[in-house]
């Protein structure tokens, strides 16, 4: 019984996986829907990992997609330019996994470097530094012709599929949940609530702040690598400020500090983006209203402002779904 309860999250996730696969095989979910589901799962990885930095540890990162860019370009360069991995070779799939993990490691190295200034900076200053970091990454990528410069890194083999993305997303959720609900996570929460007080009771605030950045950046790098191998392109503009802001919106809409909220928001906003795009195309092409895709972002901006003004704690607040809570041992 006990183990079954512990496995509830995994069981729920496997049910989701099975349902999607069956619907896909039955032809109800076509390729188009599968792409949206894959993108939603990658958005889950981004949102949950950003929530660890912004929500749990109480830091403020505006350059989350900068970490994703590191992961995308490192893994993309390895699979495409270095080793010319091929989808048809069974062993190349292992190479792909290694490249994704290496991308995540390089991203976490970047997270370590960015976590360092966070020792001295708070809130809004940190926001600017991380924003600057994201812009520096983008500028550098724009100027390295080896990885395509402003054209982007093209011709990345399509190693990412639903199964791989699903497994990585599940691993991200489980690992970050376990981290958050361990003593490390409680130390991180104490930093968010009151840094000075938590330092006074003996929490090594420096260590946990940097750890938050390193772990968050690692998963962002993984997500970036998966995205690059799904879209078969890594492009500097995919990882700019507004991409980071979109993830930030997911975290705030879902509820700052709630992993459940981030997961729900990542799914609903990715689907909403697609829905709005379809709706706007329909209005423009069929009805003849002269409107562009910019309205999607207008709607998101208004959504963000309204959430902050009227429901600052987001949809879920600090709550978690029951299956995401690890039960304490009784007695």
């Amino acid at each position: 019984m006990g183990t079954l309860k512990k496995m509830k999250l995994v069981l729920a996730a496997l049910t989701f996986y099975a349902v999607v696969q069956v619907l896909n095989l039955a032809g109800i979910l076509n390729g188009y829907f599968m792409v949206i589901i894959n993108r939603s799962l990658i958005a889950v990885i981004f949102a949950v990992s950003l929530n660890l930095i912004n929500g749990i540890t109480g830091q403020f990162s505006l350059g989350h997609m900068g970490f994703a860019a590191v992961g995308a370009y490192v893994s993309g360069t390895l699979t495409t330019l270095f080793f010319h991995l091929n989808l048809n070779h069974p062993f190349d799939n292992l190479g792909f996994l290694a490249a994704i993990l290496l991308g995540g490691l390089m991203a976490s190295l970047a997270g370590f470097l960015i976590g360092f200034p966070s020792l001295r900076l708070k809130g809004d200053y940190l926001a600017i530094v991380t924003l600057g970091f994201g812009e520096i990454i983008r500028t550098i990528l724009n100027n390295i012709s080896y990885v395509g410069g402003p054209r982007g890194l093209l011709g990345i083999p399509k190693f990412s599929n639903f199964t791989v993305i699903f497994l990585f997303a599940l691993a991200t959720i489980v690992l970050i949940r376990n981290l958050v609900q361990s003593s490390i996570g409680r130390s991180m929460l104490s930093i968010r609530e009151n840094e000075l007080a938590s330092e006074l009771v003996g929490v090594d605030t420096t260590r946990y702040k940097v750890l938050g950045f390193v772990v968050g950046a690692f998963f962002a790098g993984i997500g970036g690598g998966l995205l690059a191998h799904l879209l078969q392109i890594a492009h500097p503009t995919q990882y700019g400020f507004y991409a980071s802001a979109l993830i930030l919106i997911m975290v705030y809409v879902g509820g700052i500090g709630s992993l459940t909220g981030s997961i729900i928001a990542a799914f609903s906003l990715t689907f909403l983006t697609e829905g709005l795009r379809v709706g706007i195309d329909w209005l423009r092409d069929t009805v003849g209203v002269p409107i562009g895709t910019e309205w999607t972002m207008v709607i998101y901006a208004v959504l963000l402002i309204l959430i902050m003004l009227f429901k600052t704690e987001g949809l879920m607040g600090m709550r978690e779904a029951k299956i995401l809570i690890i039960k304490e041992k009784e007695g």
Binding site: F60, L62, P117, R120, L121, G123, D124, Y125, A127, I128, V129, L131, G132, F133, E135, I136, T139, I140, N143, L196, F241, Y242, A245, L248, Y252, P290, I291, G292, E294, W295, M297, V298, Y300, A301, V302, L304, I305, M308, L309, T312
Partner: protein, 302 residues
């Protein structure tokens, strides 16, 4: 072109610095009073540029390009910048004034996105860049191996006059004294009978007007405007304000001129360095002297 630090680069840097200074003043004043990094401030600058663009075509029927027209366009650009700043503060920041600081910061990001995307979504404006008209006929002077256009003089003069006016307002008038009081201690200022909300609105008004003026100057100097034009200058002006010591008015001006000169010189050396120099400056300042050149050190209160 000559060496990296040639007089020509310094002149270009001063011109760019004057525009940064006008934007940075708004950042630093708002930060000084409400402790908020107003992310949307760069977009007030963009709104000013579009207002200048629109008012040029409105009044060009009555007046030929020249000083008179430029003056009217300047006033309207400042009015537009001021209006959008006051409206933003009233609807987006005021309700959050006594909530955690990060919520206003996130709201500011939302406002910034809203302005940029709304401007590119509105069909009359549109996302594509537009050429900015010559509100003033351009003239070139050649002076000791340096090319100076009348735009350099106009940029520096407009920035200079506005800054002198602001210094006078803050140091010599009752209103300025009230502003300084609010920036020192909001609650005490309220007890002294100062209408804090009005002072905050006024701060946004002045900051927005300066950003609007900068919008016109940027349009004149670099004649291409688009809805996203405010992001980078806004960020760089903010960094200039941090460099000078955020909250300090002379600091913002000094920081902006340092930033302008550093950027033109770095670009002359290498375009990649030119794009990144602002962030390098930011990181160095924050690591070595986070309070900036004129900033005061603050300690956490327990």
């Amino acid at each position: 072109m000559g060496s990296i630090f040639s007089p020509q680069q310094i002149v270009n840097g001063l011109q760019l610095g004057a525009i940064y200074a006008l934007i940075a003043l708004g950042y630093t004043m708002v930060y000084g009073i409400v402790r908020l990094i107003n992310f949307a401030h760069g977009d007030f600058f963009m709104v000013g540029a579009y207002a200048a663009f629109g008012s040029f075509f409105m009044f060009n029927f009555l007046l030929p390009p020249g000083n008179g027209l430029a003056f009217i366009v300047l006033i309207l650009a400042m009015a537009a910048g001021a209006a959008i700043a006051v409206i933003t503060d009233y609807f987006a920041y005021k309700p959050l004034r006594y909530k955690p600081k990060l919520s206003s910061l996130v709201t500011a990001i939302g406002v910034s996105m809203l302005l940029e995307y709304a401007f590119s979504a509105i069909p009359v404006i549109g996302p594509s860049p537009r050429g900015f008209p010559e509100v003033l006929p351009k003239q070139m002077f050649h002076f000791a191996q340096v090319d100076i256009s009348n735009y350099v003089i106009v940029d520096l003069a407009v920035a200079g006059v506005l800054m002198i006016g602001l210094t006078f307002l803050i140091q010599r008038t009752a209103l300025g004294r009230a502003m300084r009081a609010v920036s020192q201690d909001k609650d005490a200022a309220k007890l002294m009978g100062i209408n804090v909300d009005r002072i905050i609105s006024l701060t946004f008004l002045i900051g927005g007007a300066f950003a609007g003026a900068a919008g016109l100057l940027a349009g004149l100097t670099y004649p291409r405007i688009q809805p996203y034009m405010g992001i980078l200058p806004g960020l760089k002006a903010f960094i200039a304000a941090v460099l000078g010591g955020i909250g300090s008015i002379p600091g913002a001006v000094l920081g902006a001129f340092i930033m302008g000169i550093a950027e033109t010189c770095a670009t002359a050396y290498n375009s990649l360095l030119g794009e990144g120099i602002a962030f390098v400056i930011l990181i160095v300042v924050l690591l070595l002297r986070p309070s900036g050149i004129f900033g005061e050190k603050t300690a956490d209160k327990i």
